[in-house]
């Protein structure tokens, strides 16, 4: 099948578009980076892609809360986004992109009210985290091997309006990534969980699994040299983050 086409959507303040495009290329997709204002001018253009990515950064400065303004602007694209999703398109939101997807109501779905808010620590935090992965729903994750990724954010705590909602999401297999401690157990404790997200939620998908969002940055761990401990370890072939992009491309081929 033809090479899948991935769109990396940037807005003023997006700053991970270049490395996200690189990750898709490395995984075998054809990539285009597009300003959201162009897509707002020509919404139909989205139909020529199989993947939509909203990368990390500070869209519109996150001036009204992380991802809030871009989410509001995407409101004008609700119809094309729904069409895109219904015909099998994959949507990936990383960090600020995850925040956007949640604030736009595209995640977690099931009409569950949720948000991503300030870290419990009250400040921005950059650190590598270990994540348990949960396969089964959607194409992005195909095994349950833990992975390591860097995270860097000030607002990463996933909150639902009620505890019950979170249980519903867990039961449906939508909690795809969780922060884990040394023992491999999901954790709410700093620093293994950098933001205090309840039950260690680091990333989740919609009920179809075709919309995925996560706070850590898979596009920053494509090459083993990007790992903070590569000088201590035997050399690896590729970074853990690349798998996510490869899995998506494989599912579309």
């Amino acid at each position: 099948m033809a090479q899948p086409r991935a769109l990396v959507l940037r807005a003023p303040g997006t700053n991970c578009d270049e490395e996200t495009a690189h990750a898709w290329e490395k995984a075998g997709a054809a990539v285009e980076v597009l300003h959201v204002h162009r897509l707002l001018e020509s919404p139909g253009y989205l139909a020529s892609f199989q993947v939509l990515t909203i990368p990390g950064g500070f869209s519109y400065g996150d001036d009204l809360g992380a991802g809030r303004i871009l989410a509001a602007r995407l409101g004008a694209l609700a119809d094309v986004l729904r069409d895109f999703h219904e015909r099998g398109g994959l949507t990936l939101g990383i960090c600020n992109g995850f925040q956007v997807l949640v604030k736009a109501g595209l995640l977690p779905g099931r009409a569950i009210k949720a948000t991503i808010t300030h870290n419990d620590s009250g400040h921005y935090e950059t650190r590598w985290v270990r994540l348990a992965t949960h396969s089964g729903v959607g194409p992005f994750v195909v095994d349950d091997e833990p992975i390591e990724l860097p995270s860097a954010h000030g607002e990463g705590k996933f909150l639902t309006a009620s505890e019950r909602d979170l249980t519903t999401l867990e039961a449906a297999g939508q909690v795809v990534f969780r922060y884990i401690d040394d023992q491999g157990r999901p954790t709410e404790t700093f620093p293994a969980n950098p933001n205090g997200s309840p039950r260690g939620v680091a990333g989740l998908c919609d009920p179809t699994g075709r919309i995925l969002g996560l706070m850590p940055h898979p596009e920053r761990f494509i090459d083993p040299l990007q790992h903070p401990q590569w000088t201590r370890r035997p050399s690896a072939n590729e970074g853990d983050g690349l798998r996510l992009f490869r899995n998506a491309v494989a599912a579309l081929r």
Binding site: P12, G13, T14, N15, C16, E18, E19, H22, H35, H37, R38, G56, G57, F58, Y60, G61, D63, L64, G65, R68, I69, A72, R73, K113, A114, T115, T117, H118, D120, G122, H123, Y124, E125, T126, R127, W128, P150, A152, L159, T160, A161, H217, E219, R220, I222, L225, Q226, P228, Q229, W230, T231, R232
Partner: protein, 960 residues
């Protein structure tokens, strides 16, 4: 109608902000305790009813899960309790949140005219101490206003129409006293000779200058823009030697670079000392550039805004280098007084170092992270001399395609301003930074402080790189100090320029033509655009949401002509502007500090000394700072600032990959140590150059491909002793640059770092920051400083001498005197080369430089980063006879040019042979152990230090 939307954490959510502020109040020793409920919110004015405001809050302003809100009309008749404090930006201060809110609400169809952000605090505590709480914790009155109780206004009016009136300054008729008064009252910072030169010039022209002309000259001639001291004549008396420099920088630092280039020692310089940043060749297709700037005075008054715009400014320097470089890494170095000092006994107008440090860190964080540029390297220096004058250095590294490093303005090019709008912010920044601070500075100079809006600059970055690649402009520079006056004045220096000031887009009404011309509003760049590409540029800017404005044209008149509504408001000869300043002559005096033996008699428990040094803020972990910076955005950072098994050890330098897909890297490092300077400025400069290079080499940079930046921060150079001290440092820069064949490629000075209160002056210690970039041929060969494996040898390279002068050991023991570490350039260079070869060949498992705290601290850091122990015998340390006399020298001496290597036993013979004449020895071995311990045996074989690595680590990680 004016509405107040107050947003608070939802009932089940923690009020983190309120708790943090209450904690800060108690940290600062304010009367208390305070209980603080913190809310954020907006003041919104427009054709809105309560329902509109509610819909806006639900749609976009408040978080639906984590927050709740209340809406109230603002009415002067409101009676609010005195226990409520509102804090909002002063009128005209940049308010990005409000601007974003206005913009998205308008787009969503709300009739909103003006918005301002506001924070509201509900307080319980000793209300009689409220003014102090407001001043020290809740608000920064340089840029914010605090209102206790009800808001005293019911509209957000801002600015009023400006009525044009041409102002001339009658200087032709003035006597000296009047000239000086004019300079002082206008905050022009021009001295008598300069005012006289201006007077003579205008007498010759037969007219008086306009205010705008006088301001333009003041900006251009300021110390900040023209570096008149270091480029001026200096008569140095050093001991009984007399020497005259006609241009200190040219004859020392530039001269060394030129000589290295001329002799053929280096052939990879691209553009040095004339653009906004120094440029060197990186590979066959790319150049890299580097610049470090200071923003000291603004940071002293508003730490957050000062460092925020300091970083924003140096990023623009890189954007404005050549035809525009893409920023790929930032650095920051802070010099402050002890953050743990008592909150009592403060000079007025001075901010406590703890609050200051937190503020400058937050400022760098918010600008760097938002720009998407990793902040990867830095340092922290503590000295009481920085109490009233903190130093805030920010640096940026950029990459640009080869062949893009040259710019040339052509006649008829349009003068195009892009980026942020012009407001009254930052008026007189250039002249303000050229005078001493006083206890009243906050009041008189508040206008010189600016708040940045990083996303505006990010948009500018996006546009510039695209416009550059499309060939849409001939030249570019940033609007820094002096605003348009400096940017256009510099770009048009060779030709001439005509500017129509009415064109400049303004944030609000009411700016005079002079204010437009000299405003230092942030996030603006000036481009020279060929007329036939103007439309394409404007279209591109429009696509990226960047405002682009045609301000005029460059013309071959040799004149700078300014118009406002077609009326000439300034017409200066470029020649007079750039060459007319009377040359400054200053006297410099250097008296060597008499040598005084350091007393090692006070040496007692050396293990306790090691722990004391590890807990000094200079050495202790900066993890709390580093982690607030996104040091990995752009996915280029392959040697991080934090390394080791816990990802928390102190890396010697960072390494980034400037070109995606290539393994050629760039190491970024620095050296700084004002303690040596107090004893010998020449030795200090030599040592910090050595340190910057050493740090770069330690991770894998090629010592033959390292370039340096100098940043001189000193006190008032009109005092001969202060200038003499600086001159000696500059002389060392020349000598070491030549000896190491390591060129300086750019630099900057910041003088007058003094604070005057009630006639008493506090000056900073003369401080030289050396920043280095070095090519790493293949990053897969890089090494880090954390111990890797039990059984490996620990090899100390370089000689340890009895050099405790200015050391941290002397500081923690309160021991005066001692010999300042001295660089032996020939040995140092060979050491750098041999260590680099060893790293290239894969013989080195880990490498750490020896600096503050000497061998003991280096060992402790390597152990705690690797969570492994070591056993070391001091008797094996290569050292001179004097150092052997006392273990304290072997442990804590700060002799430069030394490295500690971890080497697999099988590689030792080859390494030993390769080191040749360089002194090196196996001083010990890496050991495991549960828990691991660091054991150091004295020359007599007794254990001097035997500490568990976890104790070392917890001491070093002392919480901030």
């Amino acid at each position: 109608m004016l509405w107040h939307l107050e947003i608070r954490p939802a009932n089940d959510q923690d009020d983190r902000q309120g708790r943090r502020l209450a904690g800060e109040a108690s940290e600062l020793g304010l009367p208390g305790p305070w209980s603080i409920e913190a809310g954020r919110g907006f003041l919104m004015e427009g054709d809105l009813d309560a329902n509109d405001v509610r819909r806006a809050a639900e749609a976009v302003l408040a978080d639906p899960v984590a927050e709740s809100f209340v809406i109230e009309p603002v009415d002067r008749s409101n009676r609010e309790a005195v226990s409520i404090v509102h804090v909002l930006p002063k009128p005209g201060v940049t308010d990005p949140e409000a601007e974003s809110a206005r913009s998205i609400l308008t787009e969503m169809g709300f009739h909103v005219d003006q918005v301002r952000s506001i924070r509201t605090y509900r307080l319980k505590g000793p209300l009689e101490a409220l003014p102090r709480l407001i001043r020290r914790v809740l608000a920064n009155e340089a840029v914010e206003q605090a209102v206790v109780g009800a808001l005293p206004f019911d509209r957000l009016g801002l600015g009023h129409p400006y009525r044009f009136q041409l102002v001339t300054v009658p200087i032709r008729a003035m006597d000296d006293e009047a000239l000086l008064a004019t300079s002082r009252q206008g905050q022009l910072s021009l001295n008598r000779d300069e005012m006289r030169a201006i007077q003579d010039h205008f007498r010759g022209l037969g007219r008086d200058p306009t205010d705008c002309e006088l301001e333009t000259i003041a900006q251009t001639w300021s110390e900040h823009c023209s570096h008149k001291t270091l480029k001026g004549r200096i008569e140095l008396q050093a001991g009984d030697q007399h020497r005259v420099y006609e241009n200190l920088l040219k004859e020392t630092i530039f001269a060394a670079t030129k000589e290295l280039e001329k002799s053929g020692a280096i052939d990879w310089l691209v553009s040095v000392f004339h653009d906004n940043a120094g440029v060197i060749r990186f590979d066959d297709e790319h150049d890299v550039c580097f610049k470090v700037e200071t923003h000291n005075h603004p940071s002293a008054i508003d730490p957050y805004g000062g460092s925020n715009t300091g970083l924003g400014g140096v990023i623009r320097d890189v954007l404005g280098t050549g035809l525009g470089a893409k920023p790929i890494a930032n650095t920051d170095v802070f010099c402050v007084a002890d953050p743990d000092m008592s909150p009592e006994d403060f000079p007025p107008g001075v901010i406590h170092p703890r609050r200051l440090l937190k503020g400058v860190v937050a400022g760098v964080r918010d600008y760097g992270n938002r720009m998407g540029i990793p902040t990867v390297n830095g340092a922290l220096v503590i000295d009481p001399g920085y109490l009233a004058n903190p130093l805030v250095y920010c640096g940026t590294v950029g990459v640009l395609p080869r062949g893009m490093s040259v710019k040339q303005v052509l006649p008829e090019d349009r003068i195009v301003a892009i980026g942020g709008r012009t407001g009254r912010d930052g008026i007189h920044g250039a002249t303000f930074s050229s005078v001493e601070l006083t206890s009243e500075s906050e009041e008189v100079s508040g206008g010189a402080v600016q708040i940045g809006d990083a996303i505006v600059e990010k948009r500018v970055l996006d546009v510039i790189i695209r416009a550059r690649d499309a060939g849409l402009f001939h030249a570019i520079t940033d609007c820094g100090a002096g605003g348009f006056s400096s940017a256009v004045g510099e770009m048009g220096a060779e030709l001439g320029a005509e500017v129509e000031l009415t064109q400049a887009p303004l944030k609000y009404e009411g700016l005079s033509y002079t204010e437009i011309w000299i405003s230092e509003a942030q996030e603006r760049m000036v481009l020279a655009v060929p007329p036939d590409r103007l439309d394409a540029l404007v279209k591109l800017c429009c696509e990226e949401g960047v405002e682009a404005t045609d301000l005029g044209r460059f013309v071959p008149t040799g004149r700078l002509t300014l118009r406002y509504h077609d009326q000439v408001v300034g017409d200066l000869s470029m020649d007079f502007l750039h060459e007319g300043r009377p040359k400054v002559t200053r006297r410099a005096l250097h008296q060597p500090v008499p040598f005084q033996e350091v007393s090692t008699a006070s040496a007692g428990d050396l293990a306790a000394d090691l722990l004391a040094i590890l807990s000094t803020r200079d050495v202790a972990s900066k993890e709390w700072i580093v982690r607030e910076y996104d040091h990995e955005v752009q996915a280029r950072t392959v040697i991080k600032p934090l390394v080791g098994v816990g990802e928390d050890g102190p890396s010697d330098a960072a390494v980034v990959l400037p070109v995606r897909g290539s393994t050629r890297g760039l190491a970024i490092a620095c050296g700084i140590n004002p303690r040596y300077g107090a004893l010998d400025p020449y030795a200090m400069a030599a040592c910090v150059i050595d340190e910057a290079i050493r740090n770069a080499v330690a991770v894998g940079a090629d010592p033959a491909r390292i370039a340096l930046l100098d940043n001189f921060c000193w006190g008032n150079p009109e005092r001969p002793e202060t200038l003499g001290h600086l001159v000696r440092a500059a002389e060392a820069c020349r000598d070491l640059s030549l000896a190491f064949r390591t060129p300086f490629i750019s630099g900057k000075d910041s003088l007058y770092n003094e604070y005057v209160h009630e006639g008493k002056t506090r000056a900073i210690p003369g401080t030289l920051l050396i920043s280095a970039i070095g090519i790493v041929p293949d990053v897969r060969r890089c090494v880090t400083m954390d111990l890797k494996g039990p059984g490996n040898f620990l090899v100390l390279v370089g000689v340890t001498r009895a050099e405790l002068g200015g050391s941290l050991w002397a500081q923690v023991r309160g021991a005066a005197g001692g010999r300042v570490p001295r660089v032996e350039p020939a040995d140092a260079l060979t050491t750098f080369q041999r260590v680099h070869q060893a790293i290239l060949r894969g013989w080195v498992r880990s490498c750490h430089d020896l600096s503050e705290g000497g061998l003991a601290v280096a060992l402790a850091e390597m152990a705690l980063a690797g969570d492994l122990g070591a056993v070391v015998e001091l008797t094996k340390v290569p050292s001179d006879a004097e150092a052997k006399e006392h273990d304290v020298h072997l442990l804590f001496s700060e002799s430069p040019s030394r490295f500690l290597l971890e080497v697999r036993p099988e590689y030792w013979p080859a390494l030993a042979e390769s080191l040749g004449t360089i002194q090196a020895a196996i001083v010990g071995e890496v050991v495991g152990g549960d828990p691991p311990r660091l054991t150091i045996l004295s020359c007599t074989g007794s254990p001097l230090i035997d500490l568990s690595v976890s104790v070392l680590k917890s001491t070093w990680q002392r919480p901030f």
